[in-house]
Amino acid sequence: MDAKEISGQPAGHTGQPAVPDGQPAGLAGKIRALKENLGKVILGKADIIDLAIATLLARGHLLVEDVPGVGKTTLAHGLARSIAATFKRIQFTSDLMPSDVIGVTIYNEAAGGFEFRHGPVFANVVLADEINRATPKTQSALLEAMSEGQVSVENVTYRLPRPFILLATQNPVEYAGTFPLPESQLDRFAMSIKIGYPDEETEKAIIGKRPFELTPERLSPVVSALDVTAMQEAVEEVKVEEDLLNYIVKIATGTRTNKAIKLGVSPRGTMALHRAAQAMALVYGRDYCIPDDIKKVAVPVLAHRIIPAGYSTGETFEEPHTLIEEVIEGINVPI
C-alpha cells in the first residue's frame, strides 16, 4: 500500500501562469519538480535539499552553517531561483547598517515630500550571506521581519511580500571580526543545517561539470509564489497522530531534563519541530506524519536552539547535534 498521494490543490489556490508548461500538476508534482530543480546544482545532497524545501513549506527561515565552498550560497540561491518570486541577496559586512537592509526614508524633491525607499528585505526570498559578519544592530533589524513578516520604520509598518523566507549562511570557522548570532535570533530560524563535504563520487561528478552548469543562475523557476503559499497551507493540514504529538513533546522535554544540556528547547522550538515534521511528510508525498519525519528534522530544528552544559564556562561540551541525537535515542517511538 502506498502512502496517499497529494493530489489536487487546496481550495483558494488558482493556477499560476509563471510556472512553465509541462510541469506536473498538483502539489506533490510541484514539490518533486522543486527537488529535481535544486538537484541540478546541488549534487549528492538530496537530504539537504529535502530539508531546505521543508523549511520553506514550514514558513520557516533557514540557516546554512558550514565552511566556505560547500554550496551554502548555491543552495540558498538555487532555492530562490526555483521559485517564480522576487529574490534579493544581501552580503553582510561589519559596516552594514539596518537601513541598508530594511530601507530608508528620503526626501524626494520632485514630489516634495519624504518617501520610503524599500530595502532589500522586501522580497520573497532573501539571502543573507555571512550573516554573522554584520553588527548586532543590523542583525536585530531582521528580527521583526523574520518573526512577523513585516518591518516598521518610523512608526510605519510595511508588510513583506508573501511568501517570505530568509536564507542565511554563516561560516563557523572564521570567527575573527564576527558577531555570533544571539540566542533569540537563532531561535527564529526554523532549521539550521550543515551541508558537509560531498562523497568522492559526487565530488568527481562536480568537477566533471562545466562551471556554468552548477550556477544557480541557469535554473528556471518551477513553482510560483502562490504555489508555495498553497504548499504552506497544505502543511498545516498534514495529520499528526496523537501519539506522535506526545513523541514530539517528549523530545522537547527530553532536551530540558538532560543533564548535559544547559538550556533546552523553548515551546517555539517544539512548535517548529511539529511544523517541520509536517512539512517533511509533505515533502515525502504523504499527508500524515510518521515517526521518521520527526526524527529526520529533529537535529536541524533543535540543535541550534540548545546550549550545552559547559559551553559558556569554557569546559568541554558535547556538540549540540550529538546531544539531540542522544535525547532521541532515549525515547521510545510509539508504534
Binding site: M1, D2, A3, K4, K239, E241, D243, L244, Y284, G285, R286, D287, Y288, C289, I290, P291, D292, D293, K295, K296, I328, E329, G330, I331, N332, V333, P334, I335
Partner: protein, 777 residues
C-alpha cells in the same frame, strides 16, 4: 490476535462455566457429563480451527447466493428440529423417566447448549448460547448448596462482562463499517484488568449487601430438598444388627461446631434416642407419650428439668473409664478452658436431612448425659418423652441447623439429672426371651452376679460391667453367627465378638439383671475433628450406641442417669482418615452453608454484637486471617497428592473444580498472551498484522528496539514483506487510512508468506547502524 480469537476464547470460557455449573447439579450421572463435556470440547476444537483458517478460504462453497441461502436455511431448520427434539426429550424425561425437574432441566439445557455450539454463525447464536449458560447457572443455583457454586458464579460474572463488552463492540463495529476488520488491538491488558476489577467490585458489593440487608423471611435456598440420608437405628424400634452396615458408610450426617473452635479433650457423644424395651431381637420404646416443649421469650426451647445450679465439679463417678484417646479425667475442665464450671456453652449443629425426626444433643461428661439447657433452631415444635429423647414433628426435608446450650462441666446438685423419674420399672424389665437364653436359663444372671461380685454400690457395679465387656470381648463389624438363640446369647457366650450394639445391649441386660435401671442410647460419637473449621465432622460410620444407667448414691448428687460406654476404644475411633485437603474443602462447605445459605437475622445480630464487643480485636482478626491463609496453604501443599488421586465420591466436585480451573487457565493464558504483545505494542491502536509481524520477526531474532522507528526496523530486517507491511501499517496507524479489500487481502498474504519464510537473522545485522541514510518517503 484477531478479534475472532476473543470471541472463541470467551465462548470457551462461557461454555466451561456452564458445564461447571451443570456438574454441580447433583442428580446428573457422570456418564452424561462425560459425554456432554466431550461433545463440547469437540465443538470448541472445530470452532478454533475455523477461526485459525485464513479468511479467504472460509468462504462458503461455490454456488449462487440463492443456493447458498437455501443451504443455510436447511442447516438452520435441522438445528431447530434438533432443539425441538431435545425439548420433547426433556418432557419425556420430566414426566416419565427421572421425574425430577432439576435433573431433567439440567440435561435439557446441556443438550441445548451442545446443539447451539455446533451452530454458531451469527451474533444471535452466541447470545442464545450465553443465555443458555445463564440458565444452567440458575439451574445449579436451585439445586446445589455446594460452595463451589460461588467459584462458578464468580467465573460467570467475569466472563459474562467480557462477553457483553466484546459482542457490543462487534455489533457496533459491524453496523458502522461492515467491510472492516475489527481492530483486535482495542483490548489491552488494562481492559481485562479493569473488567476483573469491576467484576470483583460488584461481587464485593453484592456480598456486602447480602450480609448487611436485614433478613426477614426464609432464604430462597431454604426450600430446597436435599437427598435424604437413609439411616437406621434412631427410630422407635431398632433391630440388633442394623447398625453394622451403617458403620461402613462415609456419608456426612452432621457437623458440630464446638465453642470457640477448640477441640475438647473428652469424647463428644451426640445423644439421639433412648430405648427401654428389649424383646430379645430388637429394642423398642415403651415409656410414655411425647410432651411438647415450651419456648422461652427468646424463642428457644428450654429443658423441662430444672435449670441445674452451677456447682463446683466434685466427685468422679467412674475413675477407671478410659474415655477415648485423649484420656483426661472426666469432669476436668482442662479441655474446655472457656467452659469453666457453670458456664453456658453453645454447640452449633448442622444436621443433614436424616430419615428420622430425632435430633441430637451433644454431651461430654458421662455424669450429665442429658444436660442441655436450651435449644434454638428454625423449627416450630420440639417434643420430648420420658427418656429425654428429642423429636421434631416430622423428619426434616432439608438440612437443619440448631444450637444447643449446655451447662456441661457443672454437675447439677439435687435429686435428679434429666427428667423427674416417676417410674423406673421399664428400665428394669427383663423379657422372658432374655432370661431363658442358652446355654441354660439363668446363665445371664450368673454372669451378672460374677461380674458385679465385690462391687460396693451401683456405680461400682456399673463400672465393673463396663470394664468387663471392654476387656473380654472382641470388637468386629462382622460378627459370626453362633449357637445361641438370640444375637445377645451369641455375643455373651459363644462368639464373644460384636460391635457397639451388642456391647451396649449386653451391658443394659447385665445391669438390669443386677437390679440397676438402664437403657440403650443411640446416637453418634464425635467423628472427625476438622481443625480448619473448628468443628466435628460426623459421618454415618460414626453411628454409635451406648448405655445410660440410673445411679443412686453418688457423692455429688443423690441420683441420676449416667452414661457408660462398654464398647472398646477401637469401636469409637474411626479408622477413616481423609486427606487434609478434603477436610479443608469440607470446612469451606461448612462455612458456605453456615454463613451464606443459612445466614439469618440472628446471625446479623450476633455479628454486630461481636463487632461491638471486639472493637479492639482487629489484631486478633488479622492473626486469624493469617492463620487461615496458612492453613489453606498447608492444605494445598498436602493436597497435591489428593488431586492426583481423587478419592471415591468426590468426582463431582473434582469435575467442577476441573472446569473452574480450566476457565481460570484460559483467562490467565489470554492475559499472558495479551501482556506479551503489550510489551512490543504499547498502544492498543496498533493493527493486528503489525503485531503479528513483530512477533514473527521476533521469533526469527529481529527485535524492534524502542527508539527505533518502524521504518528503521524494517530497513534493518531487510525483509521485503516487512517493508511492505510497515508501509501499510504506517498508513493505517498514523494516517488513519482505511485499507480496501484488496489491500487487506494483500496484508494477509504478506503475513502468511512471512510466516512461512524461513527467516534467519543474518549475522551482523544488529551492528548495522540504523538510521541516518535511510531514504524515507
Amino acid at each position: 490476535m484477531r478479534f475472532n480469537s476473543y470471541i472463541t476464547a470467551i465462548t470457551c470460557l462461557m461454555v466451561a462455566v456452564g458445564f461447571a455449573a451443570t456438574c454441580l447439579v447433583e442428580e446428573l450421572s457422570p456418564a452424561f457429563l462425560v459425554f456432554a463435556g466431550a461433545a463440547a470440547i469437540t465443538s470448541l476444537a472445530i470452532n478454533v480451527r475455523v477461526m485459525m483458517r485464513p479468511r479467504t478460504s472460509v468462504s462458503a462453497p461455490a454456488g449462487t447466493p440463492a443456493i447458498k441461502k437455501a443451504v443455510e436455511d436447511g442447516w438452520r431448520a435441522v438445528f431447530n428440529v434438533m432443539a425441538a427434539l431435545a425439548f420433547a426429550l426433556f418432557l419425556a424425561d420430566y414426566y416419565a423417566i427421572s421425574q425430577t425437574l432439576a435433573a431433567a432441566a439440567s440435561r435439557f439445557l446441556a443438550i441445548l447448549a451442545l446443539i447451539k455450539l455446533y451452530d454458531l454463525r451469527s451474533t444471535r447464536d452466541y447470545v442464545i448460547l450465553f443465555t443458555i449458560v445463564f440458565f444452567q447457572l440458575i439451574g445449579a443455583a436451585a439445586s446445589t448448596v455446594s460452595p463451589f457454586f460461588f467459584a462458578v458464579l464468580s467465573a460467570f460474572v467475569i466472563s459474562a462482562i467480557w462477553a457483553m463488552v466484546v459482542f457490543n463492540i462487534k455489533r457496533d463495529f459491524e453496523k458502522s463499517s461492515p467491510s472492516e476488520d475489527i481492530p483486535a488491538g482495542i483490548f489491552g491488558a488494562r481492559f481485562f484488568l479493569s473488567t476483573l476489577a469491576v467484576a470483583f467490585g460488584s461481587l464485593a458489593i453484592t456480598l456486602a449487601l447480602f450480609f448487611a440487608l436485614p433478613r426477614m423471611g426464609v432464604g430462597l435456598f431454604e426450600k430446597k430438598t436435599l437427598r435424604t440420608v437413609k439411616v437406621s437405628g434412631f427410630s422407635e424400634k431398632v433391630r440388633l444388627g442394623e447398625l453394622g452396615p451403617v458403620k461402613l458408610d462415609p456419608t456426612v450426617v452432621m457437623r458440630v461446631e464446638v465453642p470457640d473452635g477448640i477441640r475438647p479433650l473428652q469424647t463428644l457423644y451426640l445423644r439421639g434416642a433412648a430405648l427401654d424395651y428389649y424383646d430379645g431381637e430388637s429394642w423398642n420404646r415403651e415409656s410414655g407419650g411425647k410432651e411438647l416443649l415450651r419456648k422461652n421469650d427468646r424463642g428457644a426451647f428450654t429443658s423441662p428439668s430444672p435449670m441445674p445450679a452451677a456447682v463446683k465439679t466434685t466427685g468422679n463417678i467412674h475413675p477407671a473409664v478410659p474415655d477415648g484417646p485423649p484420656a483426661v479425667p472426666d469432669g476436668h475442665p482442662a479441655g474446655h478452658t472457656k467452659a469453666a464450671a457453670g458456664e453456658m456453652v453453645e454447640y452449633r449443629i448442622m444436621l443433614e436431612p436424616l430419615e428420622t425426626e430425632v435430633i441430637f444433643t451433644p454431651g461430654l461428661l458421662p455424669a450429665w448425659p442429658t444436660g442441655w439447657v436450651e435449644i434454638s433452631g428454625r423449627f416450630n415444635y420440639l417434643w420430648t418423652d420420658a427418656s429425654d429423647t428429642l423429636y421434631l414433628s416430622s423428619p426434616p426435608y432439608s438440612r437443619i441447623e440448631y444450637t444447643v446450650t449446655v451447662n456441661q462441666p457443672a454437675l447439677p446438685a439435687g435429686k435428679d439429672g434429666g427428667r423427674a423419674v416417676k417410674d423406673l420399672s421399664p428400665y428394669l424389665a427383663l423379657p422372658p426371651a432374655v432370661l431363658d437364653g442358652p446355654p441354660e436359663a439363668g446363665a445371664i444372671k450368673e454372669l451378672s452376679l460374677r461380674i458385679t461380685e465385690g462391687a460396693g454400690g451401683d456405680a461400682e457395679k456399673a463400672v465393673a460391667v463396663e470394664s468387663y465387656l471392654r476387656t473380654n470381648y472382641r470388637y468386629t463389624l462382622d460378627p459370626r453367627k453362633g449357637a445361641g438363640k438370640t444375637p445377645l446369647d451369641d455375643f455373651l457366650f459363644f462368639t464373644k465378638e460384636g460391635y457397639c450394639e451388642q456391647y451396649s445391649t449386653a451391658m443394659v441386660i447385665l445391669l438390669r439383671t443386677a437390679g440397676i435401671p438402664a437403657r440403650l442410647v443411640t446416637g453418634f460419637s464425635q467423628g472427625q475433628w476438622n481443625g480448619f473449621g473448628g468443628y466435628f465432622l460426623i459421618r454415618q460410620q460414626d453411628a454409635h450406641s451406648w448405655v445410660e444407667a440410673y445411679i443412686e448414691g453418688q457423692p455429688s448428687r443423690t441420683a441420676g442417669w449416667v452414661r457408660f460406654d462398654p464398647t472398646p476404644a477401637a469401636g469409637i475411633i474411626t479408622p477413616f482418615s481423609p486427606l487434609p485437603v478434603s477436610l479443608y474443602l469440607d470446612s469451606l462447605r461448612w462455612r458456605w452453608t453456615r454463613y451464606v445459605i443459612g445466614y439469618s437475622f440472628s446471625d446479623q445480630i450476633r455479628i454486630s454484637r461481636a463487632i461491638e464487643a471486639k472493637a479492639s480485636g482487629l489484631q486478633a482478626l488479622i492473626k486469624t486471617t493469617l492463620n487461615s491463609v496458612k492453613d489453606g496453604w498447608l492444605a494445598v501443599r498436602d493436597g497435591v497428592l489428593a488431586i492426583l488421586k481423587p478419592s471415591n465420591g468426590q468426582w463431582r466436585r473434582t469435575t467442577a473444580l476441573f472446569f473452574v480451573l480450566f476457565a481460570a487457565a484460559a483467562t490467565v493464558f489470554l492475559a499472558a498472551v495479551k501482556l506479551r504483545w503489550k510489551r512490543g505494542a504499547k498502544n492498543p491502536k496498533t493493527p493486528w498484522f503489525y503485531l503479528d509481524m513483530l512477533r514473527i520477526l521476533g521469533q526469527a531474532g529481529f527485535k524492534k528496539k524502542g527508539p527505533e522507528t518502524p521504518r528503521e526496523f524494517a530497513q534493518r530486517c531487510a525483509v521485503p514483506e516487512a517493508m511492505r507491511l510497515t508501509e501499510a501499517y504506517e498508513g493505517i496507524r498514523y494516517g488513519g487510512v482505511r485499507p480496501e479489500e484488496a489491500e487487506k487481502a494483500e496484508i494477509r498474504r504478506l503475513i502468511e508468506s512471512l510466516r512461512k519464510k524461513n527467516l534467519r537473522r543474518p549475522s551482523g545485522t544488529e551492528c548495522r547502524p540504523s538510521g541516518t541514510s535511510v531514504p524515507i518517503g
